[in-house]
């Protein structure tokens, strides 16, 4: 079972991101469970969403305490929430930023993870470019596919298009594609 925890703020599509990710996994014939951190989701408030992916039925209902992957949609959150709690030693970290891990003072944390498991991606910038809205979730999913290889990008794309039919879906899909490509470049560079 692979567990993803997404941190963001209300209005950034955190829950939708987790849901789309679960749909992508479902499309590949796997079991997936996405759920929010159950609250009254007000714009700007810290929000957490969860996604579990497995090859068998997922019965577990507890919030994800020891994620295999942490997606940080808003890099300012660590100042108010203990976002890194429980991240597995071999886990992944994906941060939405134009800055560097150093800029964010996350270098030490990133370095604790296996090499190549921590990536940054300018998802909001990509979203503004393609979707014209600061909704980084789709782009981050593209980056997630590239980073973890847990789901194919094609599935992510289909999940995005299912969640957002029409032009909005296309735009999000394009943002995801660009994020995917950006991370893949880094991946290839790392493995090269």
């Amino acid at each position: 079972m692979f567990q993803i925890r997404i941190h963001g703020r209300g209005g950034q599509g955190v829950v939708t991101g987790a849901e789309m990710l679960s749909v992508a996994a479902f499309m590949e014939g796997r079991h997936a469970q996405a759920f929010p951190s159950f609250g009254s989701e007000r714009t700007g408030a810290p929000v957490v969403a969860f996604c579990r992916i497995d090859d068998k039925e997922i019965r577990l209902r507890e919030p994800i305490q020891d994620p295999d992957c942490l997606i940080l949609q808003d890099p300012t959150l660590p100042r108010v929430v203990d976002v890194f709690s429980g991240l597995r030693p071999g886990g992944y970290l994906l941060v939405n930023t134009n800055k560097t891990f150093d800029d964010l003072h996350l270098r030490a944390l990133a370095d604790k993870l296996p090499p190549g498991h921590a990536r940054i991606v300018p998802a909001t910038e990509l979203a503004l470019k393609h979707v014209k809205r600061p909704a980084p979730n789709a782009a981050l999913l593209g980056a997630f596919a590239a980073l973890t290889g847990l789901v194919h990008f094609d599935s992510v794309k289909r999940a995005i298009l299912q969640a957002f039919p029409g032009k909005v879906g296309e735009a999000n899909s394009a943002a995801a594609q660009e994020a995917y490509d950006l991370v893949m470049v880094q991946e290839r560079a790392a493995t090269a």
Binding site: E19, S22, F26, Q33, P36, F38, S40, R59, L60, R61
Partner: protein
């Protein structure tokens, strides 16, 4: 058809497949997505021959359903928490009138203090109202139970409440097999009321009944629920034949055959408990779990059959009958009462107001049940430091103020101060 979807929307689709004729909607978290979903289906024309009514309160929601049902329409509504309490009078009334309304309860705690998160306080508050209460373990079951609920309700002319854990299920995206319309139609015939408001065949429904007949009326209601104890498994079998999967039933046992410790629980927490059971089994502990699907009627005999060989019975429940303990534990105690070698009963109150029930805590709990048994209700993951301080503070100060606010203040202070 398999779909990855939100539990609320899955329930909405299941409701639509049941061809309801009158749906009453009033928003309350966490049930909103269900009625919104059905509303969309009605508004878009996907669900035909259905009146979708935006009422002004839960009390009206169920009241409209009562009128519709009495007039021969298949009626549905959904609510949660305070909403259920606000409609409480109508809840009893619908049952008393024998109207086969189906209602989804997106289980949520009851305030004060106001709390929108999941527990079973709401369902428990209406356990004696005369409704049948079915609890879903996951969203597939939520879907299936609604389909079963309509048939069960209409066969017995008795309302059914399908309890779906708020947020944990209602807001969870997961794989659900949405049945085909033809399957549902095969399972659920059109509503044929046992009594109906009909100008061609008039009757007075809802008469005032005095001491001379009230006992009999209540006996007959109880008798109906006793009949349901046989009907629910039969419907489950029937369901399996048509839909190709088992669902519903009174209860389900998991790895209980040789179990020395058997956990009893309802709703979504059972999934987590099953994972814990598997872990403990792997560690060599003889443990199993019983999922109670039907809380009302309470399957006394079926449960006793499973529990009678256990040494320990651990009841994990998301509600508290303040001043007594866990109501499910109390009911389970009744099941065990007359056994010759009665197992020891351990009551745990967990997950109140949305507190996560973790595998780690459950493992500890099940271990302690066998090795460090306790008396009375045990509050899982209780912050004893906080309650200790608060008890002390209240003792000291007459005008001590609100407990809830004081606890929040303590917690806020604690999070800013270095740990002791």
């Amino acid at each position: 058809m398999l779909k990855q979807m939100e539990g609320s929307h899955a329930v909405a689709e299941a409701i639509a497949l049941c061809r309801p004729e009158v749906i009453c909607a009033y928003p309350i978290t966490p049930q909103t997505h269900i009625v919104e979903g059905v509303g969309e289906l009605v508004k878009s024309g996907a669900l035909e021959n259905c009146e979708f009514i935006n009422v002004e309160s839960e009390f009206a929601a169920l009241s409209v359903a009562i009128g519709a049902s009495a007039a021969g329409a298949r009626a549905y509504t959904a609510t949660a928490s305070q909403g259920l309490l606000f409609m409480a009078e109508a809840v009893y009334n619908a049952a008393g009138l024998g109207l086969p309304i189906v209602m989804t309860l997106g289980n949520r705690a009851i305030g004060a203090p106001i709390n929108i998160w999941n527990d079973h306080s709401d369902a428990m508050s209406m356990r004696d109202a005369g409704w049948m209460q079915l609890f879903a373990e996951n969203n597939q079951e939520a879907v299936d139970l609604h389909i079963i609920a309509f048939r069960l309700a209409e066969e017995l002319s008795m309302p059914v409440m399908v309890c779906v854990d708020g947020f944990i299920l209602t807001h969870a995206f997961e794989r659900v097999d949405i049945p085909e319309q033809a399957q549902v139609d095969a399972f659920l015939p059109p509503y044929d009321p046992v009594q109906v408001l009909d100008p061609d065949n008039p009757a007075s429904i809802g008469a005032m009944v005095g001491p001379e007949a009230f006992t009999e009326v209540r006996f007959l209601a109880h008798y109906k629920q006793r009949q349901a104890l046989r009907l629910i498994p039969a419907l489950s079998d029937d369901f399996a034949k048509i839909f190709g999967r088992a669902s519903g039933g009174l209860l389900r046992a998991y790895r209980t055959e040789d179990a020395e410790t058997i956990v009893v629980a309802m709703g979504s927490v059972v999934g987590t408990i099953k994972d814990v059971v598997d872990e403990l089994r792997d560690e060599g502990q003889k443990i199993g779990v019983v999922t109670l699907v039907s809380y009302r009627p309470f399957p006394v005999e079926a449960l006793r059959d499973i529990l009678k060989t256990a040494k320990h019975v651990v009841v994990v429940e998301k509600s508290i009958s303040v001043g007594l303990g866990g109501p499910l534990a109390d009911n389970t105690d009744g099941v065990l009462r007359n056994l010759e070698n009665r197992p020891r009963l351990h009551s745990a109150i967990a997950g109140l107001g949305g507190r996560p029930i973790t595998r780690a805590s459950l493992k500890r709990l099940f271990h302690d049940a066998a090795h460090a048994p306790w008396e009375g209700p045990f509050f899982l993951d209780l912050n004893e430091r906080v309650v200790g301080r608060e008890i002390h503070r209240v003792r000291k100060v007459r005008r001590s103020g609100s407990t809830a606010e004081n606890i929040l203040r303590q917690l806020a202070l604690a999070s800013h101060l270095p740990q002791e």
